[in-house]
Symmetry: C2
Subunit: 342 residues, 2 copies
């Protein structure tokens, strides 16, 4: 696909500030969407997605719970596609998140949700896709064609779109997100801090990425990116879940990466990272916390939008570790850009 | 803790048939509980748990979606404990699943859920625990003291309890589960088939466990057990999620374990395992499917209760791989029996 391995991915990462700015410029579209959702008065939000978009959905779940005070869940598409469940979904807002809008399980789940009484919303990079066609509401993230298999600009575009939609549902104006494009541009400039982590990460057999709260979605996306581009066994655990079992894995032979934003999520993860250090692990940190030692520092933004910024160093890290290990992050083994699962 | 490593865990695994039989004998308690839930008429179910109990909660989520046709979600305790979210939970059944009933985040989440209007149910091995005390409804899984850190009998007891509760909510009599204790006893006898997998699993750097539908919870619990007892980097992915990225990890150096029950979940996972074989992975299978090659065969039971049976070979496998690697599965490094997270 590419001559220089990782060239496509690097180019698409670099587009993120402008993609995100364009989304912020479409606040009136977001407001109109939120008004239509408001008329339906949902009481519960279900999110359905796969791959990187599933991590964006996880982020949105926290937003819905914290900012809207509404219960939310991640739908299991196989309940519908494998077991033909037909749940009763009156008062449910069903949000499908998909870059391509082509995966049959998401399309089938959306059709089933609509027939079950839900209000359906597609957040997608293709407003002409079958998923968009089956959804009552559509938000086009407008990230432009993404050619690298590993999602980067579409992931951050999904995050910001979901934040603006949820924020608008509580009559917000999206102002917390205004500094995000600049903070992302700044994060893209942290390449030398990122480079300093590549040798250790290329050599380790296992990486473990941990965070709490909003940043847990970042940990999941960072792990997925390292798995798919660098073939590195990278795990993501919430800080609390880590202490309930997987901490047994942690030792001198495991690289631990902690995400430490300024705010409650950063405060909550710090004792977990201390525990990993006591067990001999090499712990590195990414984030904006002013009270913790940070290896790759990003600019502080409002904590609820920090995941849009803090994933960027992990994109860089994945791309560079992949290349350092002799792979091509633009076209990982066994993957195509659009995955069709049923 | 023990003289012979793994002695406690082996003993507790062996108690499972009688623990499960005792739960089946308490159908009248289950029916009473379901009647009280029925009077509340929930429209959504939220589940909160940590560690192995979180995998039991994942299983229950599928049960609620498929058997009750009701939307369900896994609660993120940190929304409440870290960000102080106070969601509106009228019409919500909030189920906390916890062996010990002592984890502060689950207790706090339960209190917050009750104050927000939810009906709260604790499924726990300690009916005198603080979690039980804060819950309006309690189901005591009655598994007896579990001394090994790695949960075994309390996990299968939670699964069966949750099945019977959900089944009773649809006026079921639990009859699908009657053969489960015998099938578990039979699975405990498959030690020689399990032993044949131990050398490969002790030698591999990465294991990947995959399934679809109900059995996805089994994959998650199997991976957690291998991580915590054998310090083996073991991943769990739903078959669909695997194809959306992590498949890049699969190759000759990765051990793939697939769960193939008789039924729809087994049919859905088979093409995913074929794809892993094409990529050169050594694929081994656990389950009851009559149409697939199975390495560790368990007795077929109704698909919705198959996870209670099919996890047993993975318990044996974890315990033996742990001992083969020179660890003590009864007391993994860095873990205590009761984990207190906030």
């Amino acid at each position: 696909v590419t001559v220089v391995p990782g060239h496509l991915m690097a180019g698409e990462m670099g587009e993120q500030p402008s993609v995100l700015s364009n989304i912020l410029d479409r606040q009136s579209v977001v407001r109109d969407l939120a008004r239509r959702i408001g008329r339906y008065s949902p009481r519960f939000v279900l999110l359905a997605a796969r791959g990187s978009s599933d991590n964006a959905a996880l982020y949105a779940k926290y937003l819905v719970e914290v900012l809207l005070g509404m219960p939310a869940g991640l739908a299991s598409p196989s309940s519908i596609t494998t077991y033909h469940a037909r749940p009763s979904l009156a008062d449910v807002l069903f949000i499908a998140v998909s870059q391509s809008g082509f995966s049959p399980d998401l399309i089938d789940s959306t059709v089933a949700a609509r027939e079950a009484g839900a209000m359906t919303l597609a957040v997608t990079n293709d407003a002409e896709s079958p998923l968009a066609g089956e959804s009552q509401l559509v938000f086009d993230i407008g990230a432009g064609k993404e050619a690298a298999v590993a999602a980067t600009k579409t992931y951050t575009a999904e995050l910001l779109s979901l934040f603006l939609i949820v924020d608008s549902m509580r009559d917000g104006t999206g102002e917390e997100a205004r500094t995000v494009p600049d903070a992302v541009a700044d994060a893209l400039d942290q390449a030398s801090a990122v480079e300093s982590l590549v040798p250790d990460l290329s050599a380790t057999n296992v990486a473990l990425i941990t965070a709490r709260g909003y940043s847990y979605a970042t940990a999941c996306e960072a792990a997925l990116k390292l798995v798919e581009t660098a073939r590195l066994p990278a795990f993501s655990y919430s800080g609390a879940d880590l202490l309930h079992g997987p901490i047994a894995l942690v030792g001198a032979d495991v690289a631990v990466l902690g995400i430490v934003p300024e705010g409650q999520g950063g405060v909550a993860i710090s004792p977990v990272l201390d525990r990993c250090r006591e067990l001999g692990a090499c712990v590195r940190t990414v984030g904006s916390s002013r009270s913790a030692a940070i290896d790759i520092r990003v600019r502080p933004v409002a904590e609820e939008v920090a995941p849009v910024v803090e994933v960027v160093p992990f994109q860089l890290l994945s791309q560079r570790t992949s290349v350092a290990k002799g792979f091509n992050p633009d076209a990982p083994q066994g993957l195509r850009k659009i995955t069709l699962t049923t």
